[in-house]
Amino acid sequence: MTKDMPKSLIEQRFDQLLLREGAALMRLAGAYTDTRSDRDDLFQEIALAIWQALPNFRGESSERTFLFRIAHNRSLAYLANRRTLRISPDEEERAPDPRLDPEQELLQEQERQQLLRAVRRLPVLYRQVTTLALEGLSYGEIGEILAVSESNVGARLNRARQMLRSFMEDKV
């Protein structure tokens, strides 16, 4: 994809990418923010950065790597820029899943919230590697995004998992 590409084609590509990876990027934004409105803000910033970078994407890496790299960079900048600590972060509201019964839905939501809170407590270096691993990216892809070796990814993820486990046991 080059700068000569017609705008309509870029728009189409942007829509496709967001349709495919939007939910993953939204979850990633949620790991770096405390409230729903902050998450939406960060997601919009990520989308804007993707929109601006898309005409320069020449396929040197996979589209997924490209997207997550931008998302992580934006998230880092967002953290540095708006580091507002909230004592009691907003609980996120989610549309109910029609496939599940309300009890199952509630349990699932509680587990997700617990995991999300634990991920948010991780230091940034571990949070990066954890969110990418939770999205199912390989060590190679994570290494490419963060510019670290696969062994480094493995070591970070291992340490992050220990921390996550202890945070989840805390039930905070």
């Binding site: 942007f14 939204m26 979850r27 995991l115 270096l125 995004i145 070796s149």
Partner: protein
């Protein structure tokens, strides 16, 4: 439960959230247009300030006002030169990865802090020069007491704006310093863990590294502190790439 099963379970829990806000493309396009407008706004302000200064000087035909018109152009020139030097190399990172972005963010943050100092000095220099010129011109036309001039309604408006600007600049500098400290903290962690977890380079590679390091030092132009800093980072980055 083994580690892989645990990760799989977390992954399943994590991916249950599939919410994506609607109408994103339009909002993104709007924001993109706004950013482009802000970029052009600087050029418009330069042109308007320069033109107004010139027209004012031509209309008044007074030496103080002519001096002011020249000063407006000089200060605009100084601002653009400073901006060009300060923002040099800060538009995009050396590589698209997180480490390069972190380095770029640090450079941008330091550049913003330099811009704050520059803005502070320039604004108050501007204020002093313009006030002196206007006072001098008023005094030339009719005897004016300094205290009376300083307490004129329009002067009070100017002092009020200056105070507001001072407050804003202090707030912005504090925000930038907090951002810089946070980024430095992340960078320290990044380097600490990167060194801890990487396998050490073999002896032969170390010798090659030293040669490459020296040639890179000669190659690069060391003309300013920021370039030195950048060079140091690039050398450390090269070392890290060789290790991996």
């Amino acid at each position: 439960m083994n580690a892989d099963q645990e990760l799989q379970q977390w992954r399943a829990q994590w991916q249950t959230d599939t919410h994506v806000p609607a109408g994103l493309r339009e909002r993104v396009k709007r924001e993109s247009r706004r950013m482009r407008f802000m970029l052009y706004l600087d050029l418009v302000i330069t042109a308007v300030a320069g033109a107004l200064g010139t027209v004012w000087a031509m209309a008044s035909e007074q030496p103080a006002m002519r001096f002011l018109a020249i000063w407006v152009w000089v200060s605009l020139l100084i601002t653009w030169i400073f901006r060009f030097i300060n923002d040099k190399g800060n538009w995009s990172g050396a590589a698209p990865d997180t480490e390069a972005f972190l380095h770029l963010s640090l450079r941008r943050c330091k550049a913003n802090l330099r811009a704050v100092k520059f803005g502070f000095i320039l604004y108050f220099a501007q204020l002093a020069i313009v006030s002196t010129c206007v006072y001098w011109e008023l005094k030339r036309q009719s005897p004016t007491d300094l205290w009376a001039y300083l307490t004129l309604t329009r002067s009070l408006v100017v002092w009020f704006c200056a105070a507001l600007f001072l407050l804003w600049i202090v707030w912005y500098a504090r925000k930038q310093k907090a951002e810089l400290n946070y980024l430095l903290e992340v960078q320290r962690d990044w380097e600490k863990y990167a060194d801890e977890w990487e396998t050490p380079a073999p002896e032969s590679k170390k010798r090659w590294k030293l040669t490459a390091l020296l040639s890179s030092l000669i190659r690069d132009h060391i003309s300013s502190l920021s370039q030195l800093e950048d060079l140091d980072w690039r050398v450390r980055r090269k070392k890290k790439i060789w290790k991996t």
